[in-house]
């Protein structure tokens, strides 16, 4: 077993035994899943809208180069500086350079999955820029030196008592500041306000980037996505290249599905659409136009590839349709059991089980594609109907993945296929298996299977084979 697989299994074992985590996951995922159903019911023609959204994504990804070029042109037309980053290192280097050029010492960040992919915070800190996460969940994660465990609710794994202790220890909060959840939230608000208003640079991700207008969309419930992209003088938006949508109208379609699928809200509280830095004086309004009163003076958009073109070239390309709503996490029985940390990467759940391995050039194939019972719940809830089970099967079938399967399995499977395509041999093998199980069984059940198969009997009994197979019974009753 590879190191990665061994680590994964170790994390799984920890997660499965963590009672608090199990309760938190069960509660959070079922609430979000129910809320999603309710919200889609209130949307006329939800199914047709999802089909339409899928077609938009399919078309866009199929013409990605054209739309990227259009986006970059339009964004530049509105005064944004557009940068292109092929790799993780390119992206961090670009952002660090922008920060240096701006003389930045403090950055406020609203959530960006791409920034996690490229480990941006560490790179900025190394360059002398203090980075403050402003999404409350991410702020808590940062204080704890932890990692987020769900892409929508990052600290689903922590209790309010944990948070209170953290605020006391790291921020000097007094008892009255953390007396209850509203007090803790107010305390966080006050603390983060100071950072927002003193920050030199605001860093965000982008839920969508609209090619027609060169706009980036930042969606939040808290308002940190607005404040971090308004108060500081410089705004840097990290955009995964697959986030493009062709038109404003298409954005409207996506927005109708995003929040409903993620949290069951009809829309998130703040859908922030940014088209260039603040407009200077002498704009369209004429000579009396004094320019916009606030907003950043510099907008940098960093288009990040970081393995996405590699995914596009491969059999998992459909995963690029993903709009990062998190619905697949909430529907997944595996995610619900092991939580986000067990996946070991930036993206947990079904999306992560495809995205990470598909992008990776790691020597050892990831165990994640096999960490699924292929139940199909993810496909059922995906707003753009990504067929994740099929993508997992494709990943499982890749030569490197098959080669990394344990020897007993590879040999066993070849043997099984050999036998199953030769009925006389199949009947013989079945008789041997029957004799084995019947000898070791009690009342028709075995409590221990040998070798690797003992993993079955670790959790349940195994039935002995029947004394006669159906084929044998049938042949005896209906002689030909």
């Amino acid at each position: 077993m590879s190191r990665e697989a061994a680590d994964f299994h170790a994390r799984v074992r920890i997660a499965v035994r963590d009672r608090h985590l199990q309760a938190a996951l069960a509660s959070a995922t079922s609430r979000l899943a129910d809320a999603r159903l309710h919200a889609l019911e209130s949307l006329p023609s939800a199914d047709a809208l999802r089909d339409h959204a899928r077609r938009i994504r399919a078309h866009t990804i199929g013409a990605l180069d054209t739309y990227l070029e259009e986006f970059a042109r339009r964004a530049a037309d509105h005064g944004a500086r557009v940068h292109w980053a092929r790799t993780s290192a390119d992206a961090t280097r670009l952002v660090v350079e922008i920060a240096r050029a701006a003389g930045a010492r403090l950055a406020v960040k609203s959530k960006s999955m791409v920034s996690e992919e490229i480990a941006l915070n560490e790179a900025l800190e190394a360059a002398g820029v203090r980075v403050v996460e402003t999404d409350l969940g991410e702020f808590i994660v940062q204080l704890a030196g932890d990692r987020p465990s769900h892409i929508i609710v990052p600290v689903v794994h922590r209790t309010s008592a944990d948070v209170a202790a953290l605020f006391r220890a790291k921020l000097g909060a007094r008892d009255e500041d953390v007396a209850d959840i509203p007090m803790m939230t107010a305390f966080a608000r006050r603390t983060l306000r100071r950072e927002f208003l003193r920050a030199d640079i605001g860093i965000s991700g982008a839920n969508f980037a609209v090619a027609e207008t060169g706009s980036v969309t930042v969606v939040t419930n808290e308002g940190n996505g607005r404040l971090s992209t308004t108060a500081p003088r410089v705004h840097v938006a990290l955009v995964g290249i697959e986030r493009i949508v062709p038109t404003a109208e298409d954005l409207g379609v996506m927005l109708q599905l995003l929040a409903r699928s993620a949290t069951g809200q009809k829309l998130s509280v703040y859908t922030n659409i940014i088209t260039g830095p603040r407009r200077p004086a002498g704009g369209a309004e004429g000579p009396s136009d004094g320019g916009e009163p606030d907003g950043p003076d510099e907008l940098h958009i960093v288009l990040v590839d970081n393995g996405r073109s590699r995914i596009l070239a491969g059999p998992s390309a459909e995963i690029l349709y993903c709009i990062r709503c998190g619905a697949c996490l909430n529907g997944c029985p595996v995610y619900r059991t092991i939580g986000g940390h067990a996946y070991g990467g930036v993206y947990p759940g079904p999306i992560g089980s495809v995205f990470a391995p598909a992008r990776s050039e790691a020597a050892h194939p990831s165990p994640l594609p096999h960490a699924s019972s292929l139940c199909g719940a993810c496909r059922e809830v995906c707003p753009v109907r990504i067929d994740i089970p099929s993508l997992l099967l494709t990943l499982r079938a890749q030569p490197a993945m098959v080669r990394s399967a344990p020897r007993w399995l590879r040999v066993g499977m070849a043997g099984y296929a050999f036998v199953a395509t030769r009925p006389w041999l199949y009947r013989l093998a079945a008789r041997l298996a029957r004799a084995y199980t019947r000898r070791r069984s009690k009342d028709g059940w075995l409590t221990r299977l040998p070798g690797p198969l003992s993993a079955w009997t670790a959790h349940r009994d195994f039935p002995a084979l029947a004394s006669r197979s159906f084929t044998e019974i049938w042949a005896a009753r209906r002689p030909r």
Binding site: D90, V153, L227, R279
Partner: protein, 231 residues
């Protein structure tokens, strides 16, 4: 250097697309979504009622008034309830409520407009100055009935921070600008997204459920949203 990176990324994407195994081959753009039922025209009473219901469900408040004078009075009432002596406001031209600012000033409330400087140090000082202001007053580009959302577009005289920094946000919205849905609004106002550097859909007060999935309002944005709907 930058041109190289752009060229490389685009080349990588093109190369990938040449051999791509996407489930739908060479799909053309699907056009507009035609699946929506007939909706009432903007400004219809049904829409106003729906807007109010959605906003209230989010813990926002709609105040439906029959005159501009009533709107001004409603605004002053909210300001006074919060004992605010100062408000951050859009310029009068964009509020959609002539005389509102004058009414506030008559009530002894100082009206502040934002005008952030280009210099970082000046900016910081200005932000610290306006941070304690309790109430922000803005107009609205539109309202969206099916979600109870406000559409705010930035521009001269229309700051972003007025609807963001203070804990109480008062927005004046004209009835005629209440649309049934976001797609309906975008269809009626092509190009609106790029009119200013910022278009924001505000759907109720700021909220989070990050800690133990418990809902709290007023995290980074306002905890109270009042929409005064004028004829």
């Amino acid at each position: 250097m930058m041109a190289d990176a752009r060229g490389h990324v685009l080349a990588d994407v093109r190369r990938a697309l040449r051999g791509a195994r996407l489930p739908e081959a060479a799909l053309s753009h699907p056009g507009s979504f035609g699946g929506c039922p007939e909706a009432p025209a903007p400004g219809d009473a049904v829409l106003i009622a729906r807007f109010g219901a959605e906003l209230e469900a989010l813990c926002g408040a709609m105040h439906l008034v029959s005159s501009i004078a009533d709107a001004a009075r409603a605004a002053v009432e909210i300001v006074e309830r919060h004992e605010a002596r100062r408000v951050l406001a859009w310029s009068e031209r964009w509020l959609g409520c002539p005389g509102l600012l004058a009414t506030l000033e008559q009530a002894g409330v100082q009206v502040t407009a934002i005008d952030l400087g280009a210099d970082a140090a000046i900016r910081r000082v200005q932000l610290e100055d306006i941070e304690p202001v309790v109430v922000g007053v803005t107009g609205a580009e539109a309202g969206l009935a099916d979600t109870g959302s406000l559409v705010l577009v930035s521009g001269p005289g229309r700051s972003r921070l007025a609807s963001l920094l203070p804990p109480v946000h008062i927005a004046v919205l004209s009835q005629a600008r209440v649309f049934p849905t976001l797609p309906a609004f975008l269809a009626a106002r092509p190009g609106v997204m790029a009119e200013g550097s910022n278009l924001v859909l505000v759907t109720g007060p700021s909220r989070t459920a990050d800690i133990e999935m418990t809902l709290t309002h007023g995290v980074h944005g306002p905890r109270e949203v009042h929409v005064i709907v004028v004829p």
